[in-house]
């Protein structure tokens, strides 16, 4: 891949080398949006395909796939939007996700017969590089660290 950098001077007067540790919370939030959006797509598509093509094989697992997809969509919406309900929605969705991945993760290990087919959350998300167990931790950390930073709140302080 050739380097096109010379053609155009770096047009965006980007904040070069802005020190990472105290960057505004929009930065990590955008990474979380990328992560959640991709998992929303992956889990929802997986659930729909499974339910449409072979629902009778493992109805519980497939419904769980779809449910996890809906939870990821809710979390993505909560992170993208900036409304009164955005943070509560994000908290609820990421919290549900945390409980879900722990419950299903444990259940799939101790009672594997109940989960003959994998879901996104089976074995703590091993099929997805364990990202499903890391993701809610990152989400909760971000929500906790940025609590009270909602624009509406700034005026009332």
């Amino acid at each position: 891949m050739s380097d096109h950098r010379a053609v155009e001077p770096d047009s965006a007067p980007a904040v070069p080398g802005e020190d990472g540790d105290d960057t505004p919370p929009t930065g990590p939030r955008r990474v979380l949006i990328a992560l959640y959006a991709v998992f929303a797509l992956a889990a929802t598509a997986r659930g729909i395909v499974q339910i449409a093509t072979k629902f009778d094989d493992a109805p519980l697992a497939y419904l769980l796939s779809l449910f996890s997809g809906v939870v990821y969509i809710a979390a993505t919406v909560g992170l993208v939007t900036n409304r009164r309900w955005s943070r509560p929605l994000a908290w609820a969705a990421v919290g549900t996700e945390m409980v879900g991945v722990l419950t299903i993760g444990l259940a799939s290990i101790f009672d594997s017969s109940a989960f003959p087919h994998d879901t996104v959350w089976s074995r703590f998300g091993a099929g997805y590089g364990y990202v499903p167990i890391i993701l809610p931790v990152l989400g909760l950390m971000w929500l906790w660290q940025t609590r009270g930073q909602r624009p509406e709140n700034l005026t009332t302080k």
Partner: protein, 121 residues
């Protein structure tokens, strides 16, 4: 599906991921070259999706055709998202967003290759 193209896409995805990941580690926003790289990769994905769907119409037997088509089309979505986020966020976090979506493209390509091979019985 053209195997060399898929392997090229897989490598390019990993390369772009490593490159933008390094950029994030250096606390830098993405460079022009990285953005061009993302566009080139996306074009390759479009070509691959068209070739794959022509292959299926042409009578390729797959064990999981629906999943395969979902992957072939779904793989087009992550990079535009990463591209948009990297443009909007001119910090290391933009680089990290593009990094993640590029790696996702590589992983999805691997899955596409597996699904394609699985049809060969």
């Amino acid at each position: 599906m053209i195997q060399p193209l898929a392997i090229g896409i897989l490598s390019a995805g990993l390369l772009l991921g490593a490159w933008t990941g390094f950029q994030a580690w250096r606390r830098r926003p993405t460079t022009e070259a990285q953005m061009v790289g993302a566009i080139v990769l996306e074009v390759a994905l479009l070509v691959q999706a068209v070739v794959a769907i022509i292959g299926i119409i042409g009578g390729r037997e797959l064990t999981e055709p629906v999943t395969f088509v979902a992957y072939a089309l779904g793989i087009l979505l992550p990079l535009p998202l990463g591209f948009y986020l990297a443009r909007a966020e001119r910090t290391r976090w933009g680089s990290l967003s593009l990094c993640f979506t590029a790696v996702v493209v590589a992983v999805m390509t691997l899955r596409l290759l597996q699904l394609w091979q699985a049809g060969r019985v």
